[in-house]
């Protein structure tokens, strides 16, 4: 009778035991993309410490109400009011963000009450978030909802971001860090061996596609791999055997994200690298892979190999299964899923993210440097 009952077998959510990105941190990064000058963490002093420090490298002030045992018991309203007043004075911000934490949300702190009381004369984005969400994209969504409420972003941009987030969550569930109950971190394949392999392919006259499908500012380093492969192809006299794709559309995304796309594009141009196919904005990594896939099917299906950087697991396998695939990720837990997808070689750019904060030019990657070094001996 109920056809759907048989058809739709509800897939039980797996319980993942490796630690994963936090929604609080995701909210912080989103506030940065919205160009807040100060982000206030309302919670204990050590919450999200490492990322707070990184974000300071990226030019925003991150401060904390430093709730202690007293704050847990008696609430932190006064502390938040005081800190709002203090940062207004210290940093003269144009836009402030407040982010909840596990403890402040459990004890029911009202961020808005503190904002009303402190009454700063600039807009405040209040994000009632904790780290207990299954998908860290929830933190982004909550930050964007609040930004929409305060008129910082348009309804259109919000809807666009929301769709992207849903896609991003699906990408992680299908082949990413949320695809298995436990994923051991791995350093992947040896960089110099893979560098040698790429050089051999080029020497044999094989044709390759270099796809950068990067998440936001990580593009500053992944783009270096595009540059390195092109340099070496040129050096070997086979520059025209390479097709470059990248998600560097500078007309899409939040202001900061567009700026990154433009900076990277300018750098590539300066180095004489042509991006043959621009596959989307720097925040479109969950869907730009599909664009790349379609283009490959239409125009490049007979190419021999592909070097895919950034979020390689978002490129559908159907379009590239006939090629030799070399992928570069910055996630040590991404190695295994990529291998299982059929990527022959997977290498990891360890600690990529910290090196891509607070900059506006392409930075050298370890794999790019390895390629250049190995190519010297050719």
């Amino acid at each position: 009778m109920d056809k759907n009952k048989d058809k739709v077998k509800v897939k039980k959510e797996i319980s993942i035991i490796h630690p994963r990105p936090s929604s609080i941190v995701a909210a912080l990064y989103t506030l940065r993309d919205l160009n807040v000058d100060v982000a206030i963490l309302h919670g204990p002093p050590g919450c999200s410490f490492k990322h707070a420090r990184l974000l300071e490298e990226d030019g925003i002030h991150v401060v904390t109400t430093s709730l202690d045992e007293n704050g847990f018991v008696f609430g932190g309203h006064d502390e938040l009011v005081a800190l709002l007043e203090k940062v207004s004075e210290m940093f003269d911000p144009k836009l402030i963000g407040i982010v909840g934490t596990c403890v402040s949300m459990i004890i029911g702190e009202e961020l808005h009450d503190a904002v009303l009381e402190a009454n700063p004369d600039v807009p405040v984005i209040e994000v009632e978030v904790h780290a207990g969400y299954r998908n860290n994209t929830k933190g982004v969504l909550l930050a964007l909802e609040s930004a929409l409420d305060s008129g910082i972003i348009s309804e259109n941009e919000f809807d666009r971001q929301k769709d992207l987030l849903e896609e991003a969550t699906m990408v992680e569930k299908r082949h990413g860090a949320a695809s298995k109950e436990y994923l051991a971190p791995s350093r992947g394949d040896l960089k110099y061996k893979i560098a040698q392999r790429i050089i051999d392919l080029l020497k044999e006259g094989k044709r390759g596609i270099v796809i950068m499908n990067a998440k936001k500012e990580t593009g500053y380093m992944f783009a270096d791999i595009t540059v390195a492969v092109n340099e070496i192809a040129k050096q070997l006299g086979v520059g025209s055997n390479i097709i470059n794709m990248a998600n560097l559309d500078a007309t899409l995304g939040l202001p900061r994200v567009r700026h990154h796309a433009k900076c990277i594009m300018d750098d590539l141009e300066e180095r004489g690298i042509v991006i043959h196919e621009n596959i989307g904005g720097l925040d479109e990594y969950p869907i730009a892979g599909n664009v790349a896939g379609k283009l490959i099917e239409e125009k490049y299906s007979d190419y021999d190999f592909a070097v895919i950087t950034g979020v390689p697991h978002a490129i559908p396998m159907d379009s590239i299964s006939g090629m030799e695939i070399i992928s570069v990720t910055n996630g040590p837990r991404q190695v295994l899923p990529l291998k299982e997808m059929g990527h022959k070689y997977v290498i990891v750019e360890i600690d990529l993210h910290p090196k891509t904060l607070g900059i506006n030019h392409i930075v050298e990657s370890e794999f790019g440097a390895t390629l250049r070094e190995v190519a010297k001996e050719v």
Partner: protein
């Protein structure tokens, strides 16, 4: 008077540490303070630790006065010693109030955990007592409210109820909670509200969960009158009939060494019982 360990003839004996649970407003604090006073009258060293953020457990042992709470002092950031938080009330009963946030703010449950840990650190008063009563809030709404039991401080739990349906429902729920955290029950106490067949109903309830009714406290206006003046019955009306009831309850608790894992009743059975 500066009692110290050497003056305690029973240095070896562990104090009896009890908690009385029950629905909010059913009379836990009244019962606890009268039992404390009655035990003190019998010559026992007694301590009462109020764990309600309202801080009203010891008020009738202190002539209606309030004492500084542990959490207030922790909050103010001063160094705290035993003398700052342990106060002597009626007949030498040691009184402590945990305190807590205003209603609707912060986390009272965490407050209890923090305060009892602090107390343990700064005070040895509990160790030299014969009876320690933790007066805990009625609704065990989060982990903090059962911390005295969970942290292994309480050795005996009692449930206080009337014969009305809702207090019995709450009592039954508490029994479910106790068995969930593997804590046996030492007895059921009935604080009567003058409903029909009250003693029979509570007695039957106690029996069916596997425990027993150890005291039936009739409803007497005099308890209210004494409280309004800021005193226990034991202090203000020691010759009243109700004072004798508390005295008997105190003796029952002090001599009690039987506690059992109870099994909460099904809702349906509980309703039948009260019909």
């Amino acid at each position: 008077m500066g009692d110290d360990m050497s003056n305690n003839p029973n240095g070896q004996k562990k104090p009896k540490v009890i908690a009385i649970y029950g629905k909010g407003g059913i009379g836990k604090s009244s019962t606890a303070s009268n039992v404390a006073a009655a035990c003190a009258d019998e010559g026992y060293k007694v301590m009462i630790i109020g764990c309600d953020p309202k801080s009203d457990s010891s008020i009738t042992l202190l002539g209606g006065k309030r004492i500084p709470t542990i959490l207030d002092l922790i909050r103010s950031g001063v160094e705290i010693t035993e003398n700052d938080v342990v106060f002597e009330g009626y007949n030498g009963v040691k009184c402590v109030e945990v305190g807590g946030p205003e209603p609707g703010i912060g986390c009272a449950g965490r407050g209890i955990i923090v305060a009892i840990q602090k107390l343990k650190k700064i005070s040895t008063a509990q160790d030299i007592c014969d009876l320690v009563i933790y007066d805990v809030p009625g609704d065990i709404v989060c982990g903090g409210f059962v911390a005295p039991i969970r942290k292994g401080l309480v050795s005996e739990a009692y449930v206080l109820t009337s014969g009305e349906y809702m207090p019995l429902y709450a009592a039954n729920n508490i029994c479910r909670g106790l068995s969930k955290i593997n804590t046996p029950l030492s007895g059921v106490i009935c604080n009567a509200r003058n409903v029909s067949r009250e003693e029979e109903i509570v007695s039957k309830f106690a029996e069916e969960i596997g425990s027993e009714l150890i005291s039936f406290i009739p409803k007497e206006q005099i308890v209210q009158d004494c409280e309004r003046d800021g005193f226990s019955v034991m202090e203000k009306a020691p010759d009243s009939e109700i004072a004798q009831v508390y005295r008997n309850l105190a003796r029952a608790i002090m001599s009690r060494n039987r506690s059992v894992m109870v099994k909460a009743l099904e809702d349906e059975r509980l309703r039948e019982l009260t019909r």
